[in-house]
Symmetry: C2
Subunit: 196 residues, 2 copies
């Protein structure tokens, strides 16, 4: 059975199963035995693909981090007024969160007990700093309010965006990724209050 099933497994499908188990049990609480049972293949078959659970964690959070960092290289994130670039980045962050939901969920739960976790936290901080720099530039242009400290504003905006992993589900009735992205952009930049 194991041999027959192994052939249907690719590193990609194994990764997808691993991320699901990590999110359910926590990374620390997941053993190779749990992964083997969830994937329906033997541990030795898993070792055929990866060196162990830490490599699976690294691949999974890399997928989330790469998705986020690629945003910053896109043209609309590099060219134009800072506030417009910031708005583009916020919208694209929501798109990456919704399309890579389990991977970003795992990334946001990483706590820093292993080298891979510490590396992931470091890359998250880099990303946060890049967005904070954009916010600072927009404030310097006078396009973004200067009465909320940049680091605090960045944390609160990330708080709103990252909360998606707690409640957004792709199959939720009626609430699509597009609607969520529109709402986040409207609230982050315009706030709740109706302008008159």
């Amino acid at each position: 059975m194991t041999t027959a099933k192994r052939d249907t497994y690719t590193p990609e499908t194994l990764l997808s199963v691993a991320v699901q188990v990590f999110n359910e049990r926590g990374y620390d609480g997941t053993s190779m035995e749990h992964l083997s049972r969830a994937a329906g293949i033997s541990k030795s078959s898993i070792y055929h693909h990866v060196s162990g659970k830490e490599e699976l964690l690294r691949r999974a959070v890399s997928r989330a981090l790469d998705g986020l960092f690629e945003i910053l290289d896109e043209e609309h994130a590099r060219v134009g007024r800072a506030v417009e670039r910031l708005e583009y980045v916020v919208r694209r962050m929501v798109e990456v969160l919704t399309s890579e939901l389990p991977y970003v969920t795992l990334l946001l739960r990483v706590r820093g007990n292993t080298d891979t976790e510490r590396w992931a936290l470091e890359r998250r901080r880099d990303f946060d700093h890049r967005v904070a720099d954009l916010l600072k530039a927009a404030a310097a242009d006078g396009d973004v309010r200067g009465d909320v400290e940049v680091r605090l504003a960045t944390r609160l905006v990330f708080g709103m965006i990252n909360s998606l992993v707690e409640w957004y589900r792709p199959d939720a009735r009626g609430m699509g990724a597009r609607e969520v992205a529109d709402a986040v952009v409207v609230l982050v930049f315009g706030g709740l209050r109706q302008e008159r």
Copy 2:
């Protein structure tokens, strides 16, 4: 030793230790043995105060929930225009989160595996609905924008506020609870964009 220490323990200090352990290890991952070691008293001394860890969980999340629900009974949350009442509630929520940080952190991590957890989730939902109703009333008054669906707006605003448990620390240099509350109110209602 155990007897000597027991006398210095009150239900309040035991609760405070238990909440810390629950937040570190997760409620499911916490045994009476863990609580006994963290509190430095025997398990039987703990049973002198409470029936078990579920009672400690119930007391801890009750403290957070009571703090939140009491907001809704305060005069400024009951009297006046809906948008002003909503603003008051948002500010007070931040105040309760910062002052009862470990208790609210625990509440927000509850997942629903026991009766107490399901009861806590139910009360959280009640609170969310009460705030959503206020948002709906403010939109009906024309004071709050009508182009973001109420349930979605409520989730995003709660996402921003609740993110505090991830990064706010009372001893953080320079960033006080008051500054955070001001920033949340400004961003939730006015957004980032500088008005001209």
